[in-house]
Amino acid sequence: MDQVEKKELIDTTKVRPKKRVPEISREKLEETGFLKTLLYSSERSRERKESILFSTVDQFLNWSRITSLWPVTSGLACCAIEMMAVSMAHFDIARFGMEVFRASPRQADLLFVAGTVTKRMAPRVKMLYEQMPEPKWVIAVGSCATSGGPYHESYCVLDGVDKIIPVDVYIPGCPPRPEAWLYGIIQLREKIKKEGYGAKWGMDK
């Protein structure tokens, strides 16, 4: 049960604290993380259960992951139209390298649950999620996928997609505006930056 719950949830409405601007040169060097990694590697590795190498590798991998999040082509309902709008010229998620909508879940990293998840569709969404290779992320878009939304009372609608698959980011709205959508994507990028895959793959041993 713990494993499933491990993915932390980010509130898209949360405002990130302002970054402190380093003043002196040593602080600037520390800001890059290189000095810290070198000096406090033993403590840090004990803390994060990683070695220096893998934390750097982690950063590199996380960078590659945030810059090429390939979504699955799967729209469920109204939000799918906004998904199209987001990928079109006006909003253009291609800027983030995300225009590569893969039809096959095997090659994708990101699942937009865009729309109402009915009870009949739920096992299919689950299957789609299971077909995706690790690492994978899920964004629940719109109030239907978050909580059932306006169809909460209906007899055949699942109250939120998080009942069947773990969700990383929720985007509210019915349907969310493309700007909200982009904000959700940026939140997901922030979240991926904090992930450490060395530990996940057992490289710390």
Partner: protein, 356 residues
């Protein structure tokens, strides 16, 4: 001259070739040096093609985006230039799924059957007067033969995946490649007829006065269309058409194996552009650029022509819809093949009459 000679020349210039060679000859194992140099050549070509392929994936996305009034990748690096690296790293470190019902061995080996020939094609393509791996005497035949291997890999991939979409995609790919191989080879043959040689360097040298595209426009058009079909790009991308067959023969592939298919696709694009440049656009021939070594000037001319062809293919992708499989085969057998035959016959007559 070829790459091998160039490296020998460089080693000579560094004054290491002779001593090492004579030292090894003393023990009768001079072949080691030769093998080493060949290995270096292979690495250079592989690295160059791999880099170009990365650039091509970026270029494809940018060109495609600009056709559609978008920007394409912008965030990663300068105008998204680092995008291919990020994609590659990400895909290499993704989980590699082998479906439970798949044929494991064939499933694993298929990407390489596709990937290796796509790179082998570069052996007889002249990037400059002496920038060539090996000027084979049967260059054209070699290119056609080697590029005919990759459909086997596609077929293997489709079969091994144990997925109906994959199988359909693979069968389509096989049918398509077989039917477009014929006009491709025939129009290349007409070029051979004009040049009087199978060697790529000879063909380029024959175009010193006039490019073959002007002598034989029909052959060029046939070759261009057939090679786009051969590559499986829009409007002939039936083997991997997203809206029909999900992702075609590589539907079930993920992670690193998918990268190989991806690389092979763009390597193929680059190779075809190189072949078209060599056969019709005068290869590396062009006015010498002042203040540059002629070899570099040739190289630049070759790349310019090559990228023009590549740009055309990308432009086409943004403009036309895809044809249907039976229409595709119909065009292949009913239009392209007879036209290629007529083209060959026509130029045979012209040659016999001594007009050209």
């Amino acid at each position: 001259m070829n790459y091998y000679d160039i490296i020998v020349w460089i080693l000579n210039w560094l004054r290491v070739y002779e001593p090492v060679n004579s030292f090894l000859e003393k023990y009768g194992i001079a072949i080691i040096l030769k093998l080493f140099i060949i290995f270096v050549v292979a690495v250079i070509v592989l690295a160059f093609v791999a880099l170009t392929v990365m650039l091509l994936t970026w270029l494809e996305r940018k060109v495609f985006a600009h056709v559609q009034a978008r920007f394409g990748p912008m965030v990663t690096g300068w105008h998204g230039l680092l995008q291919p690296i990020a994609d590659g790293v990400k895909l290499f470190f993704k989980e590699d799924i082998v479906p439970a019902k798949a044929d494991k061995w064939l499933f694993t080996i298929a990407p390489f059957i596709v990937f290796v020939p796509a790179f082998l094609v570069f052996v007889p393509i002249p990037f400059g007067k002496s920038l060539i791996v090996q000027d084979l005497r049967v260059g054209i035949i070699y290119i056609i033969a080697v590029s005919a291997i990759s459909p086997i890999g596609v077929l293997v991939a489709g079969w091994a995946s144990n997925n109906k979409y994959s199988l359909l995609g693979a069968l389509r790919a096989a049918a398509q490649d077989i039917s477009y191989e014929v006009p491709l080879a025939l129009s290349a043959l007409a070029v051979v007829l004009l040049a009087g040689s199978l060697s790529t360097q000879d063909i380029v040298a024959k175009q010193q006065d006039i490019w073959f595209i002007f002598l034989m426009p029909l052959g060029f058009i046939i070759f261009l269309i057939a090679s786009i079909a051969e590559m499986g790009r829009i409007p002939f991308d039936l083997q991997e058409s997203e809206q029909e067959l999900v992702a075609g023969f590589f539907t079930e592939y993920s992670g690193a194996k998918f990268v190989f298919f991806f690389l092979a696709e763009y390597a193929h694009l680059f190779a075809i552009a190189g072949i078209i440049t060599t056969l019709f656009l005068g290869g590396w021939i062009g006015p010498l650029i002042p203040f540059l070594h002629p070899e570099i000037s040739y190289f630049i001319w070759f790349l310019i022509k090559c990228y023009a062809v590549i740009f055309f293919a990308m432009w086409l992708r943004g403009t036309v819809p895809r044809v249907r499989i039976d229409q595709l085969l119909g065009i292949g057998w009913k239009v392209m093949t007879p036209l290629a035959l007529i083209n060959l016959l026509l130029y045979g007559f012209l040659m016999a009459l001594g007009v050209i």
